[in-house]
């Protein structure tokens, strides 16, 4: 196996609080192979978006990436790059799209010029050549009549078209990694289906790896190869899409999947996960999920679980799973 495209090791993100710095992401490890789509799934506040921002070195102040962390991309530790070097990586080798295309686009510049800016930042070419490249990109992301839409302002486009423009911008430099933070959450169902089909097609055609941040297991099933489930700043289970959706082992991953209203559940109660996600700084000493876990026992309250290997690709951080596997 060749070296992964992205490897995040021991990532610790902290924010200051009255009692000193508190961790919001704690000793997180993840890898993405070339061309692979990894979904990072979790509920609000689990740290999934902050992880994505930290990889781009865009963690908002006063947040800090602690010194023990390593983010290795294509053989380079991104945390050691100078600001201009990092700027070249952003939008170059790594592209990013966000949930709200409305707030990510400049309202007073035409969408064509905004994509053009992305092209020009990384590649020297004549204006007419760059313009052709932009039209080609707009066409690639399925914008109808791209030549006319070049001079449209963001407010003249629908939410779905704006998200397509964002994708065009992110794909302008043929990135090796695309970070997509809830790319379809703000979109309507029929438009979401179009954007999911587009993301799958683009990643297949261009071989771009994707880090998908989402809370929606339906979206995971559509485009992910592998899945990592996060809870309270940690990954609690990882595996292939099939392993996670068919045989989740961590009680949190199981609970999340069972609490989704499905047609088979009609007439029955949905499984509830009791209580709420604990806030950073209020994490319990043992397993973070223990206070809400239906199967927690003594050891869970006291000791943070380690990864239990379940297959070459699946692993869970759970004492119960460890017992089950070793007995």
């Amino acid at each position: 196996m060749s070296a992964p495209l992205l490897s995040v090791e021991n990532l610790v993100l902290t924010f200051p609080a009255e009692t000193g710095r508190i961790a919001v992401v704690d000793k997180l490890n993840l890898t993405i192979a070339r061309g692979e789509t990894l979904a990072l799934v979790g509920e609000s506040g689990c740290g999934k978006s902050l992880t994505a921002l930290a990889i781009m070195r865009l963690l908002p102040k006063p947040g800090r990436v602690e010194a023990s962390s390593r983010i290795e991309f294509d053989g380079r530790n991104l945390l050691e790059l100078s600001v201009p070097q990092m700027r070249a990586v952003r939008g170059g080798a790594i592209g990013m799209i966000f949930q709200e295309p409305m707030t990510s686009l400049n309202p007073v510049t035409t969408v064509g010029d905004q994509v053009l800016e992305a092209v020009w930042l990384h590649e020297k070419m004549s204006r007419s050549a760059a313009r052709e490249r932009v039209v080609e990109l707009l066409h690639m992301v399925g914008i109808p009549d791209p030549r006319a839409r070049f001079s449209a302002y963001p407010h003249q486009l629908s939410g779905g078209l704006k998200q397509r423009v964002m994708i065009a911008m992110a794909m302008a430099m043929r990135p090796r990694l695309l970070i997509a933070d809830e790319p379809t959450t703000a979109l309507d169902a029929t438009i979401r289906a179009q954007i999911l089909a587009l993301l799958r097609q683009l990643s297949f055609d261009t071989g771009t790896a994707v880090l998908l941040i989402t809370h929606d297991f339906g979206v995971v099933n559509e485009i992910a190869d592998r899945v990592a489930v996060m809870y309270a700043g940690m990954i609690v289970e990882e595996g292939t899409r099939r392993e996670l959706l068919s045989h989740p082992r961590h009680p949190y991953a199981q609970g999340l999947l069972k609490s989704i209203p499905r047609p088979e559940a009609r007439g029955n109660k949905l499984l509830e996960i009791k209580g709420v996600v604990p806030r950073p700084g209020r994490w319990p000493p043992g397993c973070r999920f223990a206070p809400r876990c239906p199967s927690a026992f003594d050891r869970c309250q006291a000791e943070l679980p380690h990864r239990t290997t379940l297959s070459s690709s699946q692993g869970a951080w759970c004492h119960l799973v460890e017992y089950e596997v070793h007995t």
Binding site: D216, N221, E222, L245, L256, R262, V276
Partner: protein, 355 residues
């Protein structure tokens, strides 16, 4: 004259809510946004009717027009045989007690300056319920226990609660005046999935206990399929399909319903690949396309669809608004079409009739 079904709780006929577009120095009316454009609905006591559609289809405006939070520009609403549209606002007030609403964002729906106790008791005070201040406070405590909130917290303010807890407060507040109909406008959409499950379970329990009727406005088809008895699908201000939940999901008749259902991602790892069946984007309700509103996005349109407004085709359990509906290939679960349609749950089928 309209024939009303005797056993309906709420009957809506030809509901129309248009918003004027004004421009220029004189603020002349230049056009109308036809947010709701001729909606007929019947809600039977004890049922859960889901109103689904994408953003801008007018589903929220329907909910607000029913409560006269927005005044409709046309149409009639009967509650228990009384035509609400003809009542003065003062005469309408008692009906606000019978119809309550739970909104999407409980953070915005709750007054930040009212304690939880005052927020829940506000409606009781407005309708003169509860003998005394202490009596109302006792009832607030009961309601809080019912929605699984600790009554000790009643002197706190909304910002001290999580999103799920705030939605519980909104539900307790609505229940405080003992409504018959609860309009849930995207009540679980802003919540995380594990919290959504808690709220859906709570709403299910409350319905069973109190015989509540729900109008469940949502864009989440998974929730609809799990929770609703019947579904009305809206597109650009109109209902394009209506029927029993099982039938609509198993044998959708309108091409828009079909596109909507095909766009739901499955959770089954063996079933991957949503279909983007609706082309392009939703047009603006200020200038809906001529003919069938859906025709520019429709995959099976006929040449006549761009000029000819499709009739309402009655189905045994509802309706479809598509010229192709009478000719759709029959499959399993295919609803029979009848000359005099009956709508509503089977228990009520005999008494129901449409104009």
């Amino acid at each position: 004259m309209t024939i009303l079904s005797a056993d309906a709780l709420l009957e809506v006929r030809g509901l129309q809510t248009w918003f004027p577009i004004r421009s220029g120095v004189l603020r002349r009316v230049r056009g109308q946004v036809r947010a709701v454009d001729g909606v007929d609905l019947t809600i039977y006591p004890g049922e859960t009717l889901a109103l689904v559609g994408e953003s801008g289809c007018g589903k929220t405006t329907v909910g607000r027009s029913l409560l006269r939070l927005i005044e409709a520009t046309g149409g009639n609403i009967w509650y228990d045989g009384v035509n609400l549209s003809r009542l003065s606002l003062a005469a309408f007030k008692p009906y606000r007690q019978k119809m309550q609403i739970v909104m999407q964002d409980p953070g915005a729906a709750l007054d930040p300056r009212l304690t939880v106790r005052d927020a829940i008791a506000e409606g009781m005070e407005a309708f003169g319920l509860g003998a005394s201040w202490a009596g109302r406070t006792e009832r607030v405590a009961d309601l809080m226990r019912r929605v699984s909130l600790d009554p000790e917290l009643m002197w706190r303010y909304p910002h001290e609660f999580s999103g799920g807890q705030r939605q519980r407060i909104s539900i307790a507040r609505a229940l405080a005046v003992e409504p018959a109909l609860l309009i849930c406008d995207e009540a679980t959409s802003a919540l995380d999935v594990s919290i959504q499950a808690q709220i859906l379970n709570l709403l299910g329990e409350l319905k069973a206990e109190r015989g509540l009727t729900y109008l469940f406005i949502t864009h989440d088809l998974g929730v609809v399929r799990y929770f609703a008895d019947r579904v009305a699908v809206m597109y650009l201000g109109r209902i394009v399909e209506l029927g029993r939940t099982e039938r609509v999901f198993n044998a959708p008749q309108h091409p828009y319903t079909q596109a909507l259902l095909a766009s739901i991602p499955s959770l089954d790892p063996d079933r991957r690949g949503v279909k983007a069946m609706a082309l392009g984007d939703v047009p603006s309700p200020s200038c809906p396309p001529a003919g069938c509103h859906f025709h520019p996005r429709c995959a099976v349109k006929l040449p006549s669809c761009s000029t000819y407004d499709p009739p309402v085709v009655p189905l045994r359990d509802g309706l479809s608004r598509c010229v192709l509906a009478p000719f759709c290939a029959g499959g399993e679960g295919e609803p029979e079409r009848t000359a005099v349609p009956t709508v509503g749950p089977s228990a009520n089928a005999a008494g129901a009739a449409r104009p």
